[in-house]
Symmetry: C2
Subunit: 347 residues, 2 copies
DNA sequence: CTGTTAGCGCCTTCAT
DNA sequence: ATGAAGGCGCTAACAG
């Protein structure tokens, strides 16, 4: 071999010439389209192999000239985390525009199965693909499955509907997230005994229920010195959570740990500060926001469990793009990790 | 109905027609090339704005038709972490091949400034860009600067040379990584008193020195109950580290914490297990490997501080590509976080 | 079954 | 300072 680059610089035309066929035939073989004799297929494949030919992605994209329309279906009353995802979608728009891909965002009540399902049914068919913050409910599953049947790509985002026919889930393993919190609280307490409280938004949300499951597992299995209280629900609302926390602190002088499973962390942190017991209670919550960042630096929160909203926004679009172009997905790149953030590794 | 895509689908030709100029002129304006009257520039820019025109990335790439050659300069005696980066480079090769981009990997003694500098000087000019695991040394800096002067793009990887003219650093903030470890060890010990030992590969390596600095800061400032021993150096070698650890354990019956700053974690873990004190000593090290993963699950290690090798390999290539095409870098996407990995959030 | 041919949208000489 | 025209490598419609 001469120029080490030559191998990768062969074009489809080269292959055609070398194989003694037309470019159209090479193209057919390349994409497994019918209408080519087996013998010819083999000959072409050999030449491709021999020349180390790789189709030029940009040329293919240009020639295909398709454009894609995707839509993100997001919660209507966005908390900071969801708002950040939306913000990142906007940032990716420029990049996508240069690829003739358009992404819309619609907001709906993703917590009401009927409303969500209707939204999906209505807007779904207008798009090539959807990224949905899903509710795991039969009605929603049905809507997703129907769309998939119509040829619309569906990926779930942040919250999954595992039993649906969605093509992919972009988000974290919430049981593992709960377990992670359990271990952190237990370890940070270093043998101290007492009660651990859990505040959830709503336990009918799959991700909240899963996180609760995870934390319970770990606390009961590994930390006999700790006593997990029955979870309370605060609808992800700061005021509710503040009141709930106040009550928990009052009723349990021996409260040593606190886990906020959903949003509304500000309310809890405020109540903790007001009680003067912020430093005595190990407090872990989700999602890195200006508020939780502040709480970490103040020592009110001991850790934040976080999933990178930018990564999730990009990942969802990349996955949709790859799926609709029939390109492979780099699973490793799309994996969303459970980030543990403490004061010292704040991004 | 009119194509809802129309707005984003305007082409350079459309702009030319609307602005009453030729496509060549639009192209000139688009890329700020000289030879266009100010008035014309304004007119074209206005039309671009008005039509919401975005150049089609694929078309541009095709027309430009350039190809790129990059090279990763990696340590010769690769530890697992470095080997994983190399592995990921191979995975990206297919993707890159479709973009007429070739990446080589050369191995050299990156710990010897002269050898590294010579390698850089020798192979650098053959490439459009280099990703280098740098040693922060005057000789190396000079070599990097010279290459940059020749028009070769240089990014540093994992280990930086901040005062050189390298275009970018792909890697973590090592001081913060050290601080993170310090806090974790301190918190996990939950008030227990005793000594904390630090094993480094070599303190003349910038990243090792920085991690030491970080951990010292935190331990001395926030954990008066802990006593940081003078660091020992084990050259990232399992056998050395095992012997060192054995000695540390012997000499300090009150050793409660252990931080391995570099590689060779297996040796330390082995010594810990052999001593029977694995559960009594909080042990934190770097990089997720099959071994450290096992140690986490066994409870021998309490946390692993890790930087995602796949992310780093992709990031370095993306940055090199973006730089050489004069495209913007998505800083947020290329940020390498300090991952805290415990038993429960293992990927 | 296979080949011909006209683009896709942009970039780049080469003229003017 | 500006325009005309050819081509990058692949795809797809249309012939045969």
């Amino acid at each position: 071999m001469s120029d080490p680059f030559e191998a990768t610089t062969a074009t489809l035309k080269d292959v055609a010439r070398e194989a003694g066929v037309s470019t159209a035939t090479v193209d057919r073989v390349l994409h497994g389209r019918p209408g080519v004799r087996d013998a010819t297929i083999r000959r072409v494949k050999d030449t491709i192999e021999r020349l180390g030919f790789r189709p030029h992605a940009a040329a293919a994209e240009l020639a295909r000239g398709r454009s894609h329309r995707f839509c993100f279906v997001m919660p209507k009353n966005q908390n900071v985390f969801m708002a950040e995802i939306v913000e990142h979608i906007s940032k990716v728009r420029v990049w996508l525009a240069a690829r003739r891909t358009l992404v819309d965002v619609v907001e709906t009540d993703v917590f009401d199965a009927d409303v969500l399902a209707e939204t999906l049914e209505e807007i779904g068919p207008r798009y090539d693909g959807l990224a949905v913050v899903a509710l795991d409910h039969p009605r929603v599953r049905a809507a997703i499955d129907e769309l998939v049947g119509l040829g619309v790509l569906v990926v779930t985002l942040v919250s999954d509907a595992p039993s649906s026919r969605r093509a992919y889930y972009v988000g974290i393993d919430n049981i593992a997230a709960g377990r992670t919190t359990g271990t952190l609280i237990g370890r940070f307490l270093g043998g101290r005994s007492g009660k651990v409280a859990v505040v959830a938004g709503s336990l009918s949300l799959r991700d909240h229920a899963e996180r609760l499951f995870g934390v319970s597992q770990v606390i009961s299995a590994d930390f006999p010195n700790l006593d997990l209280l029955a979870p309370v629900e605060g609808r992800d609302d700061d005021d509710h959570n503040r009141a709930l926390t106040r009550r928990l602190l009052d009723e349990h002088p021996d409260l040593v740990g606190l886990y906020n499973i959903g949003a509304g962390t500000t309310g809890i942190g405020t109540a903790l500060i007001e009680s003067g017991r912020a430093k005595d209670v190990v407090f872990v919550g989700h999602d890195l926001t200006p508020q939780t960042r502040r709480f970490l630096l103040l020592g009110v929160m001991d850790a934040v469990i976080s999933q990178n909203p930018g990564h999730e926004a990009r990942s969802a679009t990349r996955v949709l793009l790859a799926l609709s172009r029939n390109e492979p997905i780099v699973a490793e790149q799309e994996y969303i990790g459970i980030d543990i953030v403490i004061r010292d590794n704040l991004p």
